[in-house]
Subunit: 242 residues, 8 copies
């Protein structure tokens, strides 16, 4: 196992002894990255054929039999092939993810909070990434700012998390409202959900960037993967209160 200082809190402990790369023809897999950073392997499914995604998942699973491997942005066609070809895989059709192998025992809890149906694909992708990267996701849906009573009813649950990911499209008021309610590290995840002239999520993005509450961090529009990776890294480091 890599023991350098940057993997003091790896998502998955234990040695890896396979080759450093696998060349599948259509992709060269970096089998060594987990050792360098402590993170699991992920296949970005967009733009790949179903056969390529299934092949890459199999190769990664073979190289890492002791940990989960993940595919994101999986198309319906790929989802169907995974159902047939990868019997033990966990499929999330809304979040567009396929997971193979057991997630590590979680360290820390990540509250993934969103307003509702439209933001759900991005929120669920984030939650699955959190799980595969070694923390416990806690998905809290239906708490948009237009129905403030629902949000306030969840305040204690959110405040007790180790990290909060606030998923929001349109005007993205949720991160600011949450950051005024709790002092937990907070990642704003803007989405491209909206009607009319919202510039493909730029509105949500600018709003999170200019939150009136200090300390809000953000990722790119619809980047549930990036938010999940960052949230899990933070949560994994969480110790008892000091």
């Amino acid at each position: 196992m890599a023991t350098g200082p940057d993997v003091a809190h790896p998502a998955v402990p234990g040695p890896r002894t396979g080759p450093a790369e696998a060349d599948l023809g259509y992709a060269r897999l970096d089998l060594d990255r987990a050792a360098r950073t402590g993170d699991p392997e992920v296949v970005y499914g967009a733009g790949k054929t179903p056969e390529q995604v299934v092949g890459a998942l199999r190769a990664l699973a073979a190289a890492h039999p002791d940990r989960a491997v993940l595919a994101t942005r999986v198309t319906p066609e790929t989802m169907a092939l995974c159902r047939d070809e990868l019997p033990g895989a966990r499929l999330d059709e809304i979040g567009r993810t396929v997971t193979l192998g057991s997630a590590p025992a979680p360290v820390g809890r990540v509250a993934v909070v969103c307003a509702g149906t439209s933001d759900l694909p991005v929120a669920r992708e984030c939650a699955t990434v959190v799980e595969v990267f070694g923390a416990e996701p806690d998905l809290i849906v239906d708490v948009g700012v237009a129905g403030l009573h629902r949000l306030l009813a969840q305040r204690d649950r959110i405040a007790g998390a180790d990290v909060v990911v606030a998923v929001a499209g349109m005007e993205a008021a949720l991160p600011s409202v949450l950051a005024g309610l709790v002092g937990v590290p907070l990642i704003a995840l803007p989405t491209s959900v909206g009607y009319g002239w919202h510039l493909d999520g730029l509105t949500a993005f600018l709003a999170t960037l200019n939150s009136c509450a200090p300390g809000v961090l953000c990722v790119n529009v619809d980047n549930g993967f990036g938010a999940g990776v960052a949230a899990a890294r933070i949560a994994r480091r969480t110790g008892p209160p000091r």
Copy 2:
């Protein structure tokens, strides 16, 4: 008095019999506009010398002895001259307005809501315009979304107004939160308040434009005058519940 259908709810009743225009050399005043639209006369103070603003206010007041006339965006130098030269004038140094003459008896109440100090100049300009244009302004400060308890404490007061103007800079979450709390006609007034890369208020503006709550109306950035005119027009029409 003009009695056409568009002045059924004028801010100031009563005939006007002076000339249709006054030519001050540096400006030609449209003394007839009040009759056409029912609205009072306003001097836009930015870019004018103190003497020009004082002169314009005097000419308008002479033409409209029975109603208030207003100057907006008044510079400190102009403010000082108004204090010396226009004894009865009401000066608002924060809102940058000077009012001469009595405001009409108000019809309807306009809640002007904002988060705090930075938004105050725009909010007070709006409130004064509401008053001069014939409605009752109700300025509610210190209710930003980062301190939600203060906002919720004012909910009934806001919900009981005839129109709400939600003044907000930075990420401008306030209009959406308010629009989820009350069903009153709501005007979002974005401001250019912010730190860092906020594009001179574009962020606030886009946020109000993309509110997740339906029916939010908006005006240009920092346009306290326009929001006040529109809010007063709506409030003046308010009748008993139907």
Copy 3:
């Protein structure tokens, strides 16, 4: 009936006694919103299957037998299914709306003004929303600024309305011209109609935002729904002149 101050002017009077939410699997309907805000229920049709829209309309109609429910942005496929499955529904193929149940008795009149064929879908969506939200829509077509005589011929009809919605694409000169003619509360509804480099309606939008006439309010590009909700809210409050 909810009697809080924010529903002093509800679109539809009378109690609602059903459950607060209906979970259709693909959507969770907030059956309580009408009581909180006095507004009817609306299904946003874009991105939903015909079966989902029909199902949602039926569920809402069952929960609110005494008022109209509405679907907007209905696709041709959904329109066809509604024709078969919802016998009493009123279909507007140009405005892309389906209404089920009786609209409330209207309070106040909303003039929805536009230049012609291209703006008609947005204008008709707005007019239907006005009706379902409790005011009387008055659709005035073919009055673009390039044929000023037609616009002037409608001046009195427009000036006599309680609210004006000025629908305009391209350079969107209509709201400014109208706001110079009448003193009625005026909502500019920019559309994405145009040729060449018009930035998907940004030109129209910026124009309405910078109107030289004071007090022009605006909504997002093509947002006929939002303009209709806001216009009806204002019109419903209209009382006898004060």
Copy 4:
């Protein structure tokens, strides 16, 4: 005199026999351009010292004793020096121009139309350029779209011109309204006049570019010089109706 086909309609007839260039140290004057294009010489005053502008005007006047020479964007300091040093010069403090020498006998009339005080500097710069470049300027002020009756009162005067320049800031509705009223060649001259978020004239510019009336031509924001040059070129070619 240059007799090439492109100077069939020169602003100023007659030969030029001086040297092709004058080197003033701080500027090299192209004394030959008039012969090539039939246009007079112009000094762009912005960014030059008063002495440089006066010197350049003198050198041009010496080279072209039979025609007017012009300086634009003249600062107040330069204006003052011109008053002292160039006795016969015509100074326009609002339009920021200084003209030396007699304008040619005008061919064709250019209506320069604008809404009022704010657009006046650009409109007057344009009118002076029209005159110096050989056509008759006809400045028509105070005809903004917010006061349509004034505009309509000037319709015949505008329709009888050979070219119309429609000067407009803010939402720039004037060019479209004019283009719907008259069939004369029309140049839209957007200005940076506006309040709030108008993007330094971009709004006006986009509006003129997207006019619903066909055949509207446009120049850059505040480019009174360019509009005047183009308008005069067109007007000079005007013959009797065919």
Copy 5:
């Protein structure tokens, strides 16, 4: 025939005695516009069915038997139907136009200049509009700035025109180079032709707007129709040199 001052130079002389409008169900044709502005009638073909375009052309031709009527942006399907249904029509498949009836005797010549194949559709649309609107188009192709010798070989032909339309995509250097060569009124017509990140013609557009040569006029990207209308209006006024 309308004899108001704005139709002193109509494209087509003679009275029109039909009704002022024709309602085809899918479109209301303004049969009176020609009388008001002297311009012919045009059907914008984009977004209309082949049957609608053919029907509109027939109705216009019936109302204006003595002049040409035109359809622009005609799709291949519509082109095919026009070939079958409108025997005498002139079809331009590259310029996407269909013309019915005789063009008026031309007054003035318009040089339409472009670099080559990619700009040809826009250039030919412009040339046809020039012809139908009453001037003589002179299409000059293959004279881009990257092959300067070809452009210089056409200099006299271009300089002898009454108006120049410079059609250019990509970096749009052509209008500036032409405006430095000739003194003729010049309209820049930017096109959306380009590779890579050219912002759908914004680059070409900004370039024409910022030409270093004074007096360049411009229209919207790809707006061959607008450029043709304006060019013909100018050319029609051209008299013998003064």
Copy 6:
């Protein structure tokens, strides 16, 4: 002391018993925020007079005698007055901060990494905020990507931190390079440092947002305060490796 779940890891333990607000006339201080969020109080110095900043610091220090209070964006004039009036204050002229009172015992280490002189003001502001908010800042300067050997020499020191803040202007390649080297939670802090057309830091900002390395979090341009708050919140939660 507030013991809600969101202050499980407060920067400063211990009760606060003073009033909830202090009204200084020019500012209303929220003395209760620390209890709600566990964070210290901060005065934003930009736009305030030296006297106001000194007064606010004194009021906060009186209310919180047991913890540090901080002023950021302090002008040279304010810095000078602080030196005279606040004897025990720690002044950082480069980072533009003034600190009064002892920082809490740090929990966790935050590596603040930047390329050099130009980014130093933002980096030092961030480091001071980290300290005052309860973590140990470790400022590592002179490690830009143009001199990769220096960066690689610091790899272990950076990898051993609990959080990394990568401060970078211009093209902002540093966060991506760092995120490829270490697996620590990483916050990119773009700065407005640059020459030519860099859009006031937009370039740096977009670069950090699009990092090819997963899990990079970001804050607004030049927002050293926000990055410091977030980094300290994360670092304070750090426990022994799990």
Copy 7:
């Protein structure tokens, strides 16, 4: 052979004696350009039918039997036809190019460096252009900044080239890192590769434009052709060290 000073370093020596142009109906080929600039002929395949591309390649090859001719941006359909119809052609399906005829003996070496699979189409197009334009391409893949060790392992190979083309999407850190490592003339070739809100390559483009390393040159997004032409021109001039 053209012997003007600008073809002192032509890609392909030797005379050309064919006609100056070939008109294929759908395209007019400039057979003379090679003589003027020393560059080979290229067919831009996008937007052309397979038959047109094959025909153009044949015509160019017949006119230039002694040098390679090239088609870029070849679609899969065109690629298939070329395989059938042009037996000796070299097809690159990833780089989307078809080459006919022998490349000239290379002068100078161009290192084309990129991070991996996504940038490969643009990088290979560039490499082929380099070859056809007379230099030796050296394609170095899999050296992104997120895996710095691989990049450092290739340092000497890159530093020994005559020109470097750094191909990079997303945040495009590669050109800056390379420019800090080697002093070779360096062309940054940004690509539109990225996830989320990257503005179609604008991010990569702005990053290359603002490189902290001096002397970085850039081309448009995805412009492998332009980068290849420029790189070959530079490499062909390379002599022994001076």
Copy 8:
């Protein structure tokens, strides 16, 4: 002296034996960079005091007695101090540069071409950088595209250079025109020169980026330094024709 492959063509041969860095307090000078890249040392004068610039030049000159050192973007105040304190320095007040020490014997010639006065500061800065970095600058002024005959008169001189830098503001047509005339490696250097709405040079920049002539390279707006560095690097590699 470093003999790695990336300094095969250094601007200045010979060993450097001083320390690797000099710390002046206000700046840390990287004395080793020349050895690594073969380039001379440069002080960026903007934002530094006159004393700092003079001090930095002296320190660099002491460390590199055998080569020229350079300061760019020198303010008038700094220029005055350099005149007093650095007797042998060469001052260019227009190009804003100060050079100390002898430039190396030039290898290759760089034609720096621009239209005239406005572009001269950037062009001269570029020319001086070319000289100090080891090539021969050839400044060609007054050849804008609006006076094509002057440009054509310089064609052979430009075509005979080893590199061309085309400096251009406004619509920046010059690089495209030049690239059509000569086959020499060409760097477009856009400037922020312009009137009206040109977006601080964006127009020029986009134009150069979208040149219709293949192989045009570009640098950031006004980046005379970067263009000079790149041009010299290319020129220094130039050998006899191959």
